[in-house]
Symmetry: C2
Subunit: 247 residues, 2 copies
């Protein structure tokens, strides 16, 4: 699952850029999901007085509204991006205005000052209003998605990689970098997505159907715990895949 973010100030063209990219990705037959970060303290999607609103006011801690054609799960907290992305299994996920994720980024801006305020080594393109008057900025392409969406989506196909995990450096770092640093190196063509040691891992864990990422040390502990029991059993064969399910 390839994840990237579009960041920029209000009215710089974020949502329009994303709309155009979504349409183009879908027309290339990719599945696409998206996340919108709402920077508005009083945001609430539910309507005062609705039945689901009444459930919540009475004390229900997780409320779902199921209609004929949609199902809305309303968590009463700001979930982390890692928790949110567990609900997705799309080819591409686009994050609007999300800054707490180490994914490749497109900046939308009105002017060069706004770009500089957001520029870092995860940015791979610039778009939005400034793309009417500029083609390139410090080596980065500035692309207008209204008349040139194919170009930015070509670049997304080329640059955006399967999402890296987001471990603190002191927790993993087995590739020699933090997850964020590795991401920046991949964007520059100086490392490969396969350099993330977790891509090589032989131990997979799911809880409640969701993948749980483990640093190599924890993988080895779990591997030893399972093998310690299983290799004593009749039916064990070295090298065969082992699946344990606890219901």
């Amino acid at each position: 699952m390839k994840v990237f973010s579009v960041v920029g100030i209000t009215e710089s063209g974020k949502t329009t850029t994303i709309e155009n990219i979504i349409k183009e990705l879908r027309s290339r037959n990719y599945s696409v999901g998206s996340v919108k970060e709402i920077h508005f303290e009083k945001f609430a999607i539910d309507t005062v007085g609705s039945n689901t609103y009444r459930h919540r006011e009475a004390g229900s801690q997780l409320v779902t509204a199921r209609g004929y054609f949609e199902t809305d799960i309303l968590f009463q907290e700001k979930l982390s991006m890692d928790e949110i992305l567990k609900f997705y299994n799309h080819d591409f996920v686009i994050l609007e205005g999300v800054t707490d994720s180490n994914v490749p980024k497109i900046i939308t801006a009105h002017n060069e000052k706004e770009i500089l305020e957001r520029l870092d080594d995860l940015v791979f393109a610039i778009s939005g209003k400034i793309s009417n008057s500029l083609d390139e900025f410090e080596g980065l392409p500035v692309i207008n998605t209204i008349d040139n969406v194919e170009k930015i989506v070509d670049l997304i196909e080329e640059k955006v990689f399967d999402k890296l995990p987001d471990f603190p450096e002191d927790c993993c770092g087995e590739c020699g970098y933090s997850c964020r640093q590795l991401g920046a190196l991949i964007l520059k063509g100086k490392a490969r997505r396969e350099d993330c040691v977790l891509a090589q891992s032989r131990v997979k864990l799911q809880i409640g159907g969701k993948d749980i990422e483990m640093v190599p040390f924890v993988q080895r502990v779990l591997y030893n715990a399972v093998l310690g029991v299983v290799k004593e059993l009749k039916g064990y064969e070295e090298g065969k895949e082992i699946t344990v399910r606890i219901l």
Copy 2:
């Protein structure tokens, strides 16, 4: 996780009954979640023209709105109750107006005719407007939640059991019944939740794709080995299915 449903015609007192039950369960220190079935074809929680609405219109197949104090995951399909309940880990989950789940039920009604239209062997209480004029109906207690919510919540504590699976009879039936039949027998005190054989064998092992049978002692050893590691991990939630694969 104990799950029950409150069903009844519009204006029969469903949401009021649920509000009172939620408040009383929370005051007894239970965690509570809820699901509202919306029987209105044009229901859409999102507002026309919002950024998330624009994502969806452009073709985003799963849209999330993340605010400061809530995260709303907007699936564009009617999910099954089993899929929805995977998001929950609460002591009690109350379903409003949901009929496609084999859980114990409370009927709310204006009159006896409305009760009879909904009565089956999963109903354990009656409430809503009719409880102003009736105390009992065909052996079932009729309870007013406005002035007698303790009584209905005592009954919920006594009657509602950890949700049974919902397998087709020809897929399991190892207890001798369908899941729905077993539920009805548990409500009548003629079977126990533990009679569900899936409650007994919680550990499954496959090697090279083949099921390996384990005596209960070995199951417990493997269970403890896996849980010993997994329950220390971020993402672990009690009661959720765990899958470990070693490749």
